[in-house]
Every structure is written in C-alpha cells, then in structure tokens.
Subunit: 372 residues, 2 copies
C-alpha cells in the first residue's frame, strides 16, 4: 500500500473532544494516530470508556487543569449550541469547533446566548465533516473516517482568522478536503445535495412496502441505486431534517410543483402538449444530472462504458481487472450487475473515452466477452 | 472465459424481425449467433441495411414468400399494435410477439381490432425483455443484450399454449430469464419498479439545474446514485410514461400524499409529533428498501461491507481483488468512491456476513488499509 499519512501535523494539541460517538471517537483516533494529545469526555461513562479503550485519547478527569488548544464539540445536533457555549466559557484560551451537520441554527442560538461575548464568539468556528457510516457509536469509529472526504468550515463574521486556521488544521490533519462557506450557504447546499436526495429515496422506497413479490423480482439496478440511501438511520435523520426544515421545504415546494404538473399530464395523456410536458420533465432531469461534478472534482465528464460478462466465481473480476491494469488503463468507475436467478454477472466498466476502443480490442483478444 | 452459449437452440426459425432499432437488431444478432435464420424489415431502408450489414439477418425482399415460424414486432410502442395486427393477418401460420415495454394498451387495441379473429389472437403473445442501453439504433445493438436479463411473457386468455411456448423459446434462446404474468400485472409492476424510480430520479435531478457550483462540489455517492437514471432518453420515456399513465399516476398520488404530509411537518418542525412524522417517513423507506430482492434473486440479504483505501492508479483495484480471490472469497458487490480533488479512492466491498472477519484479517495482514 502506498497510502501514507506521514506528513507533519499542523495542530499542536491538546485537543479536547466532547462527545464520543462515532464522529468524536473517530476524530480522537485520527489525531492520536498523528501523535496529538487527545482528551475525551462524554455524558455516558461507558461510551467514553470504550473510546479510551480503543485508543481515541484519555478520559478528562474532573480535576484535570489541561488547557486545550482546541475543543471539538461532537454532541448530538440538538444540544450542540449549549455544549459549545459551555466550552467557550470554560476554556477561555481555546478555539471551539462543532461538527453538527446543519450550521445556521447552531450559530443563531450562540448569537442569542447572553452569556457569550463577541470575544468568545471570535473563538468559535462551525464545521461539518461530510463523513459517516451506516453504524453509530464509538465501537464503529475509525481514524481514517475523514480521509479524502469534504470538511466544510462555516466561520461567522465574528470568527478570528487564527480560530479559522486552527479549525482548518484539524480537518487537514485528519486528511479531509477543506472548503469554506457561510452557514447559510452550507445549509442551503446540503438541503439540496444531501437532505433532498434522502427524502426522495425514502418517498420512493416507502411505495415498495406493499409491492407483490413477483413485481419486486423484476427489480433492476436502477431501482437499487435510487433506493440505496433509503436504508439510512431514522433517529439521525429526524434531527437533520428537523434542523434544516426551512431550506429543505423550499426545495420540496419545487418538487411538489413539478409533481403536480406531471400528475396533471398523466391524467390526460392524450391532451395537447402532454408529450411535450413529459419530455420536459425528463430533459430537465438530464440537465440537472449533468451538472454533478465528476468523481475527481473536475467538471462532469462523460466516461465511456463497456460491459464484460464474467462468471460469478471468486477471482473472475480480479482477473479481469488485473488484465485491464496490465494494459495500463485506469478504471474510472465500476459496477457489478447480477441478475436474479443466474450466476453470470456483468461488470460495467467506465474509462476515459479515448481509452475505450483500446480496452475493447485488448479484452476481446484476451478471450473476454465484451458487450459493447 | 467460461461463459458459453453452446446449448441447443429451441426455435426452429425462420424468425422475422419487424423493426431494426436497438432491440430488434439485437434480437437478430442473438438469433443469428445461434444459427437461426432471421429476416429483417424496417420502414427505414438505411436502418435495415445497417442491421443486415452487421449480421442481424437478411432484409426481407418484397417478393419473398418465406413463412416465418415467429414474427417479432420491435416497432416503437405507439405503432406496435398496428404492426402486430398486420403481421397476424399477413402470416397466418406464424406466432407473433411484440416487445413493447408497456403491455395492457397493446392488448386492448388488438382486442378491439375488428380485422382480427380469436384464432388470430391465439397466435399473439405480448412480451417485455427488460434490457436496454443508453444508446439507441441498430449500430448500438449486440446479440448478448438479453443475457441474464428478465424477459416477461404476458399471454392473454386467448393465447394458445403452443404460441406461449414459442415466445418462451425466443427468450430462452437469447439467454434471458423468463417469467410470466398478465399484462395488467406486468404494467402494475413496471409502474412501480421502473417508471416511478425514473420519475423520482428526474424530479430530484431537475432541482439541480440552478444549484451553485460550490454546493454541487459537496456532492457525494448518495446524490450520484439517486440521480444516475435521470440521464435517460426523453424520447423513449415520453412513450413509456404516456403508455402506462393510469398505473403510474396511482403511485404518484401516494407519493404526493406522503410529500404533503412531510411538507406540513417541516413547516412546523417544533409541533407535537413532528419528530415522529419524520422518523416514520425514514422508517417506511427502510421497510420498502429492505424488500428489494438480493442480486441473485434470493431473499433480500444484508451483506457485510468493508472499505479499503487504494491509490487511484491502474492495477491497484485489480491487485486488491486478486488477493481477495486468492483467499477464495466471492464479492457480492463492489463500489468505487473517489472524493473530489484527491486521487485516493475507497473501494467498498460486500461479502457474505460470515466471510467478513476472515477478509478483514487477511487484507490487514497483506498490507491493505481496511476501514472497518
């Protein structure tokens, strides 16, 4: 393996992590792996004990007088502002960041907090590491959780440059990709690119609850893709959707308008303009989908796809990819597509368009069944 | 490669394919590869010439008196019934199938066709091969298009057993997985598992048309998955959605009801019961998503996932999968996840739950960075 994290760290530490759930414990593990001193605290004695046991730092003792460089508030969203406020007052020399996934509400609550001065708020930076797992709790934590994932900084107009720098160093030391925007911009962005997709996937999957089995047996990759995130945790999403309700609901008004237009068209499919309306819906989806950036953060790029038939046995896909690697062609994406009831799989491979014909020729001459 | 198609064919032929677009030409190619005589006809002289040139069969000459065993109507959905009717009358000894993706409307139109007798309709079987491509036209055709894909037979109560047998042999000879249900059942099933996902994906992607670029730069795999099929062809989907409008619209009423409930909840996020309402939406999505069958057609199965960090260079993923194959573990699914702006990728791998720990141990001792 050539993935390394041996570059110098930026934070000096110590770092105090308040809240040892999945994210807090993962932050502790990641910082400890880089040699930074980490203190842990959680209202649950067992949660903080687990976090300490797996190496995420040492439990903050009541008599401990350590002055942290940085306090990371990793509490549940609905108590985040209160914990941030307490931390700002208790550690008057520390920078305090939180990692809640919705930012404007936390900032508004802190601004209204009469116990906090402008000097206190200068040391606060709201942040959102866009990483997570399907599991929760300290046991699921891992130090590499943030590697190559976006981490958004949302400093207020009161935040001191030095505090923003410290928040940025936290994200960088954990291997994340840092970007910066206002809390309002952030919440608007995630309403659209994270919360709305979750809602649409859940609304669709919900329709499948009473579907006859013979209908579901025809399910293809399209249905699987659109419903994958419908498997998300209800407890977490209640807090996220509730905290960003005004921004999300604006997008839902737009969806409802389009949906009503579509329903009206489908109720009168022979009416003048019905075909045009349907074509417009699909075309607008084409246009929106095409704007999603490519996987490497570059402009959206139309990769070329090809499909190869393989046996569904261990080692077949590996052998295929080995031969592709030997030809020096880099995979951009890969998708497995089994069909119900048969143990032949299709591997869909995407490569840069200029490499496609070379790959087709190469694989065909090496005995693979390529479906162009 | 061990994928072979050297089993005996079932159709005797000749088979006449009316319509040499993507599907008709693919059927011709697949049957020719199995040695079956194929005749081609298309209103477009150039389309049928291309189909003949690439080996899908020979063009039916005006003076040709061949009596086909089977006529496959592969015309656009809105002219399918008319072409089926003509074929039943012109070839009184042939079985006639169509392959349009919505079935009840075609059958209803044929039943109302006064030029057709019950004896004629006994020779007709509506079918739907659930295969397609992002490209259209005879140039995009391939004989293996139907391999391992579902092919639904929808015989009416008038269909003769011998005609159904011939339709089934067509699907089997092309390597498809045959199932059988009524036209109404079929149209109800695809409304839910194919047409509704398309609409939801398009409705979501449509919202992205005016998104600021900085918001889109935070896009993750969730958004990409939910919007993938939003890139589909408007011209094709206008016909499909229009032809299945009544069944699709029923599901859209359900979506609209849930959407209105959600909007109402989000407009009053502090109201009693708001959290419960949000949790219910996500939970119902969980329940529906869990009913989608596993990739091998078995019951939905919770595969165990693990994530491995790899360099984004040719051959890395191949090397990883080779080592997994050497350990004798079969991949159930695989997902690549690059992050914007960094050339380190994560490979998410799913295996049977009982194999997970073995694989983690094996990969870890072989120097891979496994994110559990």
């Amino acid at each position: 393996m050539t993935v390394t994290n041996n570059h110098a760290t930026h934070l000096a530490g110590p770092v105090l992590v308040l809240g040892t759930g999945l994210l807090g414990t993962s932050i502790g593990l990641g910082l400890r792996a880089r040699g930074i001193e980490v203190l842990l605290s959680d209202p649950s004695p067992s949660a903080q004990a687990v976090a300490q046991d797996i190496g995420a730092g040492r439990i903050l003792a009541p008599e401990d007088r350590t002055a942290p460089q940085l306090v990371v508030v990793a509490a549940p969203p609905d108590v985040t502002a209160r914990v941030v406020s307490e931390a700002l007052r208790r550690y008057p020399d520390a920078v305090v960041v939180d990692i809640a996934s919705v930012k404007a509400a936390v900032l508004a609550e802190l601004r209204q907090d009469t116990a906090l001065s402008a000097q206190d708020l200068a040391r606060y930076v709201g942040t959102h590491p866009m990483a997570g797992r399907e599991k929760s709790g300290p046991v699921a934590a891992r130090g590499e959780l943030f590697t190559s994932m976006p981490w958004v900084l949302c400093p207020s107009d009161l935040a001191a440059p030095e505090a923003v720098k410290t928040a940025r160093e936290l994200a960088i030391d954990l291997g994340a990709l840092v970007s910066q925007m206002s809390a309002e911009e952030h919440d608007g962005a995630v309403a659209l690119i994270s919360h709305l997709p979750q809602v649409m996937s859940s609304l669709l999957a919900s329709r499948l609850q009473d579907t006859p089995a013979h209908a579901l047996s025809l399910s293809g990759q399209g249905l699987r893709d659109v419903t994958r995130i419908a498997a998300s945790d209800p407890a977490l999403w209640v807090q996220i959707l509730g905290a960003n309700a005004p921004r999300l609901v604006t997008h839902l008004y737009g969806v409802r308008e389009d949906l009503n237009r579509l329903i009206n068209t489908l109720e009168h499919p022979e009416a003048d303009g019905a075909r045009l309306d349907l074509a417009q819906l699909i075309s607008e989806g084409n246009a929106g989908q095409a704007r999603i950036p490519g996987k490497h953060g570059g402009p959206p790029q139309a990769f070329a796809w090809l499909t190869v038939l393989v046996d569904d046995r261990p080692g077949q896909i590996a052998r295929l990819l080995t031969e592709i690697g030997e030809e020096g062609i880099n995979l951009e994406d890969l998708r497995l597509d089994h069909s119900a009831g048969q143990d032949v799989g299709m591997v869909e491979i995407s490569v840069l368009p200029g490499k496609r014909q070379q790959l087709v020729d190469y694989l065909s001459t090496h005995g693979w069944k390529v479906l162009q």
